[in-house]
């Protein structure tokens, strides 16, 4: 039973490979969000940054870096790191400050200039880091895990390579309509099938790329929004940041093994499903209420998994939902109307914020050619390495 927080502004730097620094991307996105909100930067009470690594600097930086770039003005500052869930945790930190009365207006920013190719752990001989170990001992890249999930779905649920390809076809068609997306060309199933296998059974076009990009939000309390002349803002009703429950029985990045279920019986749902469940409970909303969903499609097969984990359909029924067109534009519950990571690529600290930007534009009815008709309720879903849940529900 939380109070709502208003989304006053949303902004992005277009995603792609731009060859510039993350500070520039984040500052462009922040200025866009402030302009969208009609808020002067000097009136922002607090800035929350989703962290990235600054080249050559042994640490994670964000909040103060963006504040300096925008011009020091004395705002409260926080920086958060939660891998792919960093953006959602930044939104949550901002929301918490607003609801606690510590700030009226908070700027949330995430930006990155991602390296080309596979994500890899930091250097050194680091036997205490599970992420380092999975590369050293197994050569298990992120796509290797996506391949394992995809093959498992094929064996257990009967998903096909054609189903996976159709997720890419759907998301590429949506991304072609999004000016902030990196890839703006439609893709055919034949093109997916003709692309090189990366990690069997998944091909290059089944797996999302790495990108440069940035996203920003201006959040405020409902009173501030009304005083600011915004009577019916998009509202954030829930932010799920849950951890898994022991024993976590689905093999997950970057782990080499699952928890054992020999002594403690697993309760309830899987970690991914628990992320969404926590958001639904906090918002008092059910899957049937949703107008759209932005999910974390690191691979085509993983998007199908999210359909089930979000409760859009029963276990094993995701491919059927896709084949029926329910998750396509104009369907009952469009998924990744933005084009998803398939069209954006990964800019880790920005992507969970970018998902909320898309919900904001969709719920305002200003998403242009990719608008979901009469959108009222949207959910985002994401998952951060090392057990960080991430889901946001926004309403209008």
């Amino acid at each position: 039973m939380t109070d709502d927080v208003a989304v006053l502004g949303a902004g992005m730097h277009p995603w792609g490979k731009w060859g510039r620094g993350f500070v520039e991307y984040g500052t462009v996105a922040a200025r866009a969000a402030l302009a969208d909100a009609g808020v002067d930067w000097r009136d922002v009470d607090s800035v929350v940054g989703a962290d990235t690594v600054r080249g050559g600097y042994p640490g994670y930086v964000a909040g103060a870096t963006f504040a300096k770039a925008l011009g020091w003005q004395g705002a409260r500052v926080a920086s958060v790191y939660a891998a792919c869930a960093s953006g959602a945790q930044a939104v949550n930190a901002a929301r918490t400050q607003i609801l606690a009365g510590l700030a009226d207006v908070v700027l949330v920013v995430g930006a990155d200039a991602a390296p080309k190719g596979f994500f890899r752990p930091a250097g050194g001989d680091r036997h205490d880091d599970p992420d380092w170990l999975r590369f050293r001992v197994l050569g298990a890249t992120n796509p290797a895990y996506f391949g394992l999930y995809a093959r498992r779905r094929m064996a257990v649920h009967g998903d096909t390579l054609e189903d996976f390809a159709q997720v890419k076809v759907k998301n590429a068609a949506a991304g072609a309509l999004n000016p902030n997306a990196r890839y703006r060309k439609t893709v055919t199933a034949e093109e997916v099938a003709a692309s090189a296998v990366v990690a069997d059974p998944l091909r290059l076009l089944d797996i999302c790329a790495t990108s440069d990009g940035a996203a920003a939000l201006v959040l405020c309390g409902m009173d501030f929004a009304r005083k600011h002349g915004v009577r019916n803002p998009v509202r954030i009703r829930a932010v799920s940041t849950v951890t898994p429950t022991y024993p976590n029985t689905v093999l997950d990045l970057p782990d080499i093994a699952t928890d054992s279920a020999a002594v403690v019986e697993p309760e309830g749902v899987t970690f991914r499903a628990s992320i969404a469940r926590a958001a639904y409970e906090e918002a008092g909303i059910a899957p049937e209420d949703l107008s759209l969903a932005e999910v974390y499609d690191l691979s085509t097969a993983l998007e199908l998994q999210w359909y089930e984990d979000l409760g859009l359909c029963g276990e094993g029924e995701a491919a059927k939902l896709l084949r029926e067109g329910a998750t396509a534009p104009g369907g009952r519950i469009p998924v990744n109307a933005s084009g998803g990571l398939a069209s954006f690529g990964e800019a880790v600290p920005a992507q969970a914020i970018a998902q909320v930007c898309e919900l904001t534009w969709q719920l305002r009815g200003t998403a242009g050619a990719r608008q979901v008709a009469d959108a009222r309720v949207g959910i985002t879903a994401n998952q951060g390495l090392f057990g960080h849940g991430s889901s946001v529900i926004a309403v209008r």
Binding site: F118, H127, A140, A144, R151, R152, P247, V263
Partner: protein, 148 residues
């Protein structure tokens, strides 16, 4: 020239030939099993904490899923950039007694075409890579139908 045989990670596996085992730990208080081994605290949230004792895992399990790596993984995976890339297969294996899933490379020569979810595999000693002084040893999964 002879190289020293050294496990890529200390104390994750033990033994030779038929006696080769993955080595986890078991909590003396709640009997929970951990792999990779947990040596500091029992991670069962309902456990007050016990001594963590070495515990060999089951030799055989069933394929939970599998994939391969058609592109050369980045460091710290070790491979010779001068040589053409040879994909290897990864298998996630469900151990019935421990009720956990362990990832590992397949023995060289086993490709995804040789595997099916649910197939029985066993753990065998293997070589991960070599440098001038050291042969780094590891564990491999091998379908039980395949001869050594």
């Amino acid at each position: 020239m002879s190289r020293t045989r050294t496990p890529v990670v200390a104390d994750w596996f033990t033994g030779e030939g038929e006696d080769f085992r993955l080595l986890g730990t078991r909590c003396s208080a709640c009997a929970s099993v951990f792999f990779p081994r947990e040596d500091t605290f029992c991670r069962n949230p309902g456990c007050a904490g016990g001594e963590l004792l070495s515990a060999p895992l089951s030799r055989r399990g069933r394929v939970w899923s599998y994939t391969d790596s058609r592109y050369r993984p980045p460091a710290p995976y070790v491979s010779d950039p001068e040589l053409p890339w040879q994909p290897y297969t990864l298998i996630a294996v469900e151990l019935e007694a421990e009720r956990l899933v362990v990832l590992g490379q397949a023995v060289p020569g086993v490709s995804v075409a040789d595997l099916e979810v649910g197939m029985e595999v066993e753990v065998v000693p293997g070589v991960l890579d070599e440098d001038a002084d050291t042969t780094w040893t590891t564990w491999h999964w091998r379908p039980t139908g395949v001869a050594a």
